[in-house]
Symmetry: C2
Subunit: 371 residues, 2 copies
């Protein structure tokens, strides 16, 4: 079989392991894409053979981006797909393989609840009804994402959905919340929502800090505390062990993830405190997910929620400079949301003394694709 | 403050730790319950002070059932709630505490998407449209749950939703599925759905096995293989390493969980294979969740999905005999679904040689509440 050798060839060329599942993910994403109506089932007849742009495939197939260029090339070499410019399509041979294997199209949109976009939350209910509209108004004119700070922010709906998840889990109302890096402006949204007892935002980018400070004054969100802070530096003493909840959307290199999450753990008050963070499949391989979960459980934290494709990111202006674009030789900018992440909630079960030391190591790894 | 000593008193009386969060969970569940319309926000004015039956509270508060009797008694002793027969209500003092702390009501129903009951899946889309109706027909006349086998089955909607989750994650279509213990009749549902390449069910209860065999013949579901098997015995050789996906809903004692999941891991083919299982907060404390996650990650499996309240269980006939009823001295049967669990999906990242030995130890622990 072509596949048996194919992913061995890919494996030799990439930093992360690729399995038959990844071959299936790419081929079925191509099989399904282009024809699936939002929330509905794809029409196999119409979808088969339709071409898809590379961004859409990147967003649909759940394969680490670092492995995707070699995988696509080897699939093309084996005659399973064809690439023309920025567009990809299954060949008749690829189509036959998907059908013979019985891999039904599994578009990410397929089977997703259209009412809540798969998050399971009703944002039309109070206290979130109306909040989204006010949040959009407050963040108007916000600074654009900067690559130097690994920025790239989520849709306003995502920010509000994160708050709704916190609220539903008892992590927001009457609680002390710290946001570690906040280009999503979650702190402003929480201040607007109004149920938290304390909200502290730590942010490195002076432009973002200035924007948040102006918004706080303009909209009277005086409960919000904003500190300019580099997370590589230890948390200030008064923030250690002082929060019920942390929220962060870390840089996804393994050292970056562990740095952001260790600051988060350090900020928590103790047993029953919670952390919320995002993690992609684009920049974090299954190996990285596993390492992270070993690290968290070793530190006494267990995962209580893990919500696939919860976070949707708006496209950022530096798309041309990002690694994944160069790796995949993409010519044109993305046309719609393609970068998504899983939202994870952890609960502190066996608190420990978490170190609060400066970090001066690297914040990169091979899998980072948006730097 | 009353709470500072209260949960220390509870701690002395129970097998699992109780935190201020658990006090909050009980009080806010009482605060919110009784007034929250399905999927909507509770009306604090109407809800405050309304009384709730013990079953509803058990289902709403996410506190391990083994700790709940002592917690309720100590909360009553401190004058925060009052119990009359099977019904509980906040006192004015309890009400004031919830309001002073800013713990807004966080009913489990609050903020839940009404269209998908919070699961995020659209069961109205093909191939699941119609499947639920056929499944209800096929399972008509099924045997009632038996306490001897720790049975208690989920709603038909839940069974179909589990299949939809598998399908969406690429764990069903064209795949080999093994179901380890199947009082939910997931195997029959998967055979009806029809996209799996192989479906094997292992079940101990001869009545269930006979029912499944009859249904297979009657409805022509010949793809379904049913074996009578005790999971304490090793998996038959031909089933070891032979499946892309396992599904199970284990007995929730720690040894039971590890036994069922170790059989599941043993059945998987390798990297990229997946497991789906349920886990409650009723019978599994946060400590047990953490131990389980440490065990899984040590065995090379990472969690990719963790969906709170995904599984809803129909009430079983042996409610009078269950521990939780005796612990809580409940007089009358539950009126609606109260027992729920989180559906968890794991992915095998670093496969190991998993032992396949007989198990002759206990299958109980202190936290089991439905035995």
């Amino acid at each position: 079989m072509a596949q048996a050798t194919l992913y061995e060839r890919v494996r030799q060329r990439t930093a992360v392991a690729v399995t038959e599942r990844d071959v299936e993910r790419v081929l079925t994403a191509l099989y399904a894409a282009g024809s699936a109506p939002e929330g509905g089932a794809p029409d196999a007849g119409a979808g088969a053979g339709a071409d898809v742009d590379v961004w859409t495939l990147m967003g649909a197939c759940d394969v680490p981006l670092v492995a995707l260029p070699a995988l696509l090339e080897e699939l093309e070499r084996d005659g399973l797909l064809v690439r023309r410019g920025d567009r990809l399509a299954l060949t008749p041979k690829g189509l036959r393989l998907v059908e013979e294997r019985g891999w039904a199209p599994s578009s990410p949109r397929q089977l997703r609840c259209p009412a809540c976009r798969g998050r399971g939350l009703d944002l039309g209910a109070e206290p979130f009804k109306g909040l989204l509209k006010r949040f959009r108004e407050v963040v108007r004119g916000r600074p654009e994402p900067q690559q130097a700070y690994d920025q790239g922010y989520v849709t306003p709906e995502t920010t509000i959905a994160r708050l709704a998840l916190m609220r539903r889990r008892g992590d927001l109302a009457g609680k002390r919340l710290i946001v570690l890096g906040d280009d999503d402006l979650l702190g402003l949204a929480a201040a607007l929502e109004g149920s938290a007892r304390r909200i502290v935002v730590l942010e490195l980018d002076p432009q973002l800090v200035a924007f948040m400070e102006r918004a706080r004054e303009r909209w009277g969100l005086t409960s919000l505390e904003i500190h300019r802070h580099d997370l590589r530096d230890p948390l200030p003493d008064e923030l250690v062990g002082a929060f019920d909840t942390f929220a962060t959307d870390p840089i996804e290199s393994l050292p970056g993830l562990l740095l952001f999450l260790s600051r988060g753990l350090c900020a928590l008050r103790g047993r029953g405190s919670a952390g919320h963070f995002g993690l992609t499949r684009h920049e974090a391989s299954p190996e990285k997910w596993l390492k992270l979960q070993r690290w968290l459980t070793a530190r006494g934290a267990c995962i209580t929620d893990c919500l696939d494709r919860f976070n949707e990111y708006l496209n950022w202006p530096y798309w041309e400079a990002m690694r994944a674009r160069r790796w995949l030789r993409i010519e044109s900018p993305p046309q719609s949301v393609w970068y998504r992440s899983t939202q994870i909630r952890l609960e502190l079960v066996e608190p420990q003394a978490y170190p609060n030391e400066p970090y001066r190591g690297a914040l990169e790894d091979e899998e980072l694709a948006t730097t």
